[in-house]
């Protein structure tokens, strides 16, 4: 093997190593999103549009998020099973019916302003069947808010005293655990990618409760892809 060939080989190996490193960096880390989940169509009889079925849990658990088992999180139900994702796809200029099974206990809002339901159809929601347009600022465990669409919905926490008895420790949570069912509908406008987030300081252990899950896609932040 002559010198020139050796040099070429060496350079080739170097380039290959660099290339793979960059490739892994880009593909595995930088461009990784949670899976996009499309909303389920609703029959015209049932009001038309699409529906999102979500749950909020106090601890995502090892099975769902091995890296951060103790983080609070949203999950979405897609054809029968719960998926750990916060990127939801809904059609443009349509109505979206949202059902949230809320298994977490209350933390209370930093800004009580968000205790009022805004931007939903009729500016209200139903909590366990009762229709309400606002709850006490100490009550929410989370909020479901899409600021760019003006949607702000506080999600009432489960009662502390029941909590000891039967509190869902780990996602995905079954209805047998103590929970609240929140339903509301909102209308989507023109296509685009809108962020949604939680306004309750539920990032336990972080400054102002706004770190960790509150700043990580897939837990308390996500996108509503209006297409």
């Amino acid at each position: 093997m002559n010198v020139f060939a050796k040099k070429v080989l060496g350079v080739a190996i170097g380039v290959a190593i660099l290339g793979t490193a960059i490739g892994l960096y880009v593909s595995v880390w930088a461009t990784s999103f949670p899976a996009t989940v499309a909303a389920t169509p609703v029959s015209a009889a049932a009001g038309g549009g699409t529906s999102l079925t979500l749950q909020t849990v106090g601890a995502a658990g090892k099975s769902v998020s091995p890296g951060h088992p103790d983080w609070v999180s949203y999950l979405i139900k897609s054809n029968g099973k719960w998926i750990h994702s916060t990127i939801y796809q809904v059609p443009a200029n349509s109505i979206v019916h949202v059902t949230i099974y809320q298994y977490d206990s209350a933390s209370g809002l930093r800004n009580p302003y968000f205790s009022q339901v805004q931007g939903t159809v009729g500016d209200d929601m139903t909590v366990d069947g009762k229709t309400v347009d606002a709850i006490s600022p100490e009550a929410p465990a989370h909020t479901f808010a899409i600021p760019e669409l003006g949607v702000y919905v506080p999600l009432e926490g489960v009662d502390e005293k029941e909590e000891e008895s039967n509190f869902c420790e780990e996602a995905p949570c079954e209805p047998k655990y103590n929970h609240r069912v929140v339903t509301f509908s909102f209308r989507t406008g023109k296509p685009g990618r809108y962020r949604w987030q939680c306004f309750v300081p539920c990032g336990a252990g972080t400054i102002n409760g706004n770190g960790g899950p509150m700043q990580t896609l897939g837990y308390m932040d996500g996108f509503i892809d209006v297409v």
């Binding site: 933390s107 209370g108 930093r110 800004n111 009580p112 302003y113 968000f114 205790s115 009022q116 805004q118 500016d123 347009d133 606002a134 006490s136 600022p137 600021p147 760019e148 003006g150 702000y152 962020r195 987030q197 306004f199 300081p201 539920c202 990032g203 336990a204 252990g205 972080t206 400054i207 102002n208 409760g209 706004n210 509150m214 700043q215 990580t216 896609l217 932040d221």
Partner: protein, 289 residues
């Protein structure tokens, strides 16, 4: 190695008078460029100057600065061009240049001129800043100067990741959209509930950082009705880029009816809001339990 011609004193040895030629080149180009820059570039330097008193101030200011900068930039640029054309080593030759080690007069002139320039610019900037009451910039809890006459206080509450606006003189109602009456002096009281944000109302020339526990005041007087976007200008976490909302400047009547509507519509929320204060440190103020 070196030629007698090259090391001769300036302007001799059959060389043209570079100084005169270069200076003419520079002055002519400046005279041509300056008005063009002011006329064509000037208006592009920021939002339309009619938007508010502050933007007008900023636009004049930036025009002046660009006007001052243009001849200086041209001085160096034309000099570089001139040098590239005339101060060249002929191909293949290895001539030495003249051994000029400096020129006290030129150096002194340069120092004096640049010093005067920057001092006058600084002086002018100070005058603009203070005469315009901070010219739309966040000036802390008690600004040095404040506009005379009545002011409409608007509290900007920044939180991760949304601005909400509180109108203390209208029953302390809090909204997510910013609406301002035209032609009124507005006092923005910018504060934050968590990390540092920055309230940037680009079109009306206001920028003020939102610091936790601090009341940062900025004045602006919108002078025409319009719709624009408000942005966060200080990195504040995952949704920093998404932290913007629409703002409107509307007629007095429209503003009054809008705020009345908000008061009724947002009554439930307003009821539970903390009493209006200069700044808020809500729980959890440190690590959440």
């Amino acid at each position: 190695m070196s030629s007698s011609q090259a090391v001769g004193p300036g302007g001799l040895g059959g060389e043209p008078n570079h100084l005169r030629r270069f200076l003419t080149l520079w002055i002519v180009s400046s005279i041509i460029a300056l008005p063009l820059v002011i006329i064509f570039i000037g208006p592009l330097l920021g939002p339309a100057s009619g938007n508010s008193v502050e933007t007008s101030g900023e636009i004049t200011d930036i025009k002046v600065l660009v006007g001052v900068a243009t001849p200086i930039i041209l001085l160096v640029m034309t000099y570089l061009l001139y040098a590239l054309m005339y101060f060249r080593q002929e191909k293949g030759s290895t001539l030495e240049g003249p051994a000029i080690r400096g020129n006290a007069k030129v150096q002194m002139l340069w120092i004096v001129i640049t010093s005067c320039l920057v001092l006058s610019v600084a002086g002018y900037g100070t005058v603009v800043l203070e005469s315009e009451n901070g010219d739309g910039s966040g000036s802390g809890p008690n600004p040095l100067t404040s506009p005379s006459g009545p002011k409409i206080p608007v509290q900007v509450i920044a939180q991760q990741w949304l601005f909400t606006y509180r109108y203390p003189t209208y029953g302390g109602v809090e909204t997510t959209s910013l609406v301002l009456p035209v032609g009124k002096e507005i006092e923005f009281q910018v504060t934050s509930l968590d990390v540092i944000h920055s309230f940037w109302a680009f079109q009306i020339g206001v920028k003020a950082d939102a610091n936790p526990g601090i009341d940062n005041i900025a004045y602006s007087k919108p002078t025409r009705e319009m719709t624009f976007e408000v942005h966060c200008a200080e990195l504040c976490g995952i949704w920093h880029g998404a932290m913007h909302n629409e703002a409107r400047v509307v007629s007095d009547a429209a503003f009054e009816s809008w705020i009345a509507k908000q008061q009724t519509m947002l009554a439930p929320a307003t009821k539970v809001l903390p009493t209006y204060s200069k700044s808020y440190i809500p729980e959890p103020s440190r690590r959440a339990e």
